[in-house]
Amino acid sequence: MFELLGIPPQALFGQLLLGLINGSFYALLSLGLAVIFGLLNIINFTHGAQYMMGAFVAWMLLDYLGIGYWWALVLVPVIVGLTGIVLERLMISRLYHLDHLYGLLLTFGLALIIQGLFRNQYGISGEAYSIPSQLVGVQNLGFMFLPNYRLWVIVASVVVCLGTWFVIEKTRLGAYLRAATENPTLVGAFGINVPRLVTLTYGFGVGLAALAGVLAAPIYSVNPNMGADLIIVVFAVVVIGGMGSILGAVLTGFGLGLIEGLTKVFYPEGSAVVIFVIMAIVLLVKPAGLFGRTA
């Protein structure tokens, strides 16, 4: 193992960059979760399964229909988003009047169903999905070789995260949405179809998860369990960032990626648990999260 001191700076930068890449996935996923929780008060435990569905649908499009990566980036979030909308209309919306922990239990159950069905159908070895030809190859950065595809992942997620934040915080649509969550009756009285807005927002959040799935498909193995262990980490990210804060979720996502990257260098076995230690500390010290507004 490398010594604690004396790790060459280039190696450190390389690890940090990799951490940033992982952070992109955390950021995208926690963005979706934060949108859904922050705006709709739904604790969407199905998010991990929807991420997995995104990866699988991308693979299915390629394998069964020959539709490639670039189309998948657009189609998959729509397809999976639609399934999310169906779920919301049929089941999740019936629980809005109750304590939102029921929503958590419901979505947890849905996640189990989705994962179980995929496992029965596809087994666990995982399916292969290759990196699109335009993105194959590496960039020599001096301190490491960065695969082009990973660079693309960072760029794509930053763009999507900023775009989403902008829409929600700075546009009229976003304003309607934020208003609708705070006072649905009043907003409804203005003639805005609040339930439809809620449904579409849920669908959008799910679509974000699916997009993350498509981005992940070429580099992580496409298998039914890919979302399961990721989901509790993503929840931790959202909780740390502040459950109502979009920006908080994104920044924490990238931040966690960096911290994990560092941990992998100094104490790799601990890289899976560092997030929970941080979450416990944050929750005890600043319960609304780093960027959250106290409810």
């Binding site: 239990l105 189990l112 169903i113 994962q115 029965n120 929840f235 648990v273 929970f276 416990a280």
Partner: protein, 327 residues
């Protein structure tokens, strides 16, 4: 968790105060005991012991969720850590079974005190997430610590001899020991629920600000019920370690925490006998569907979904409503 209030419960408070347990509860306990005494001769004893351990675990969890109104997402930490400590005590330190179980239970109580003390500073989803974070840390510790054996777990745990005199190697003998423990635990939980302490807990669950305004030290009560719940979960875990002669990572994994929530939800949170039904159903289902691979996961998911959408009161809750008697 603001559960839907059961007006029937007030009837219980009225009748129970008079002479202890209401008649129909006595009958149910007697019936359960009779069934439990016959079971090892009819069914595979190890299977029934597994059901018993999980019944205790689910009832302990329900103490916190149904009566305390606090959803803990990390109860596996207490169940599992007690399991590991009891296994280690029996195997490496060579303690007799009742001492080993005591060690395990004490560990769970200690952890419950520390984690609970920190967790109750928050409420709702944040409380749940803090308990989850602590449980993950316990999982990580169990994975790394040498004495827990990592992936292998602690295997070949000896069952030993009760008080040094009565060998527990035989499944039947062990069964009655386990039955005594679990039944004792259930009666204890019943007593807690129907005591003044239990009444205050329900008041806090239903309307915390009002309880505070009435002068109750709410945080103390919450901590107390948390510790009680964790301790009894630990008792279940330690006993389980002796039954299966094995303590493994499954006991501290977050899916175990999810399962106990499922058992309680299915049976009926806030009912006394609900978790018993829930635990028995889930364990039996897992046993018989084990051959069908991922269908167990799917079935559990379906139960969660249907339970939350249609049967929030759970099996016993629905039964209770039909019979118009609190169960």
């Amino acid at each position: 968790m603001a559960a839907e209030v059961e007006p029937l419960e007030r009837q219980v408070a009225a009748t129970a105060g008079a002479g202890g347990m209401p008649r129909h509860h006595q009958l149910i306990f007697a019936g359960l005991l009779a069934f439990a005494l016959v079971a090892p001769f009819v069914l595979y004893p190890v299977f029934v012991m597994k059901v018993l351990c999980f019944v205790l675990f689910a009832c302990a969890f329900n103490l916190l969720l149904g009566f305390g109104g606090l959803l803990s997402f990390g109860h596996a930490a207490y169940f599992g850590s007690a399991s590991y400590v009891a296994a280690h005590a029996a195997k490496v330190w060579g303690l007799t079974p009742e001492l080993a179980i005591l060690c395990g239970t004490a560990t769970a109580a200690g952890l419950g005190f520390v984690f609970g003390g920190l967790a109750i500073r928050r409420a709702g989803i944040y409380f749940a997430m803090v308990t989850l974070a602590f449980a993950q840390m316990v999982y990580f510790f169990s994975l790394q610590a040498p004495f827990t054996g990592g992936e292998d777990g602690i295997q070949s745990v000896p069952r030993g001899a009760l008080l040094g005199l009565f060998s527990l190697e035989s499944d039947r003998t062990l069964y009655f020991f386990v039955l005594a423990i679990v039944f004792g635990g259930l009666l204890l939980i019943y007593r807690i629920i129907h005591s003044p302490f239990g009444q205050v807990m329900k008041a806090i669950r239903d309307n915390e600000p009002r309880a505070v305004s009435l002068g109750y030290r709410v945080q103390r009560y919450k901590l107390a019920v948390f510790v009680l719940s964790a301790t009894l979960a630990g008792l279940a875990g330690s006993t389980k370690a002796l039954v299966f002669q094995l303590a493994s990572l499954t006991d501290v994994h977050w899916s175990m925490s999810g399962e106990v929530v499922l058992m309680t939800l299915l049976g009926g949170m806030g009912t006394v006998f609900g978790p018993i039904v829930g635990a028995a159903t889930i364990v039996t289902m897992q046993n018989y569907l084990a051959g069908f691979g991922a269908w167990v996961t799917v079935t559990q998911g379906v139960i969660f979904v249907v339970g939350v959408l249609l049967f929030r009161e759970g099996i016993v809750g629905v039964l209770s409503r039909w019979l118009k008697k609190p169960l």
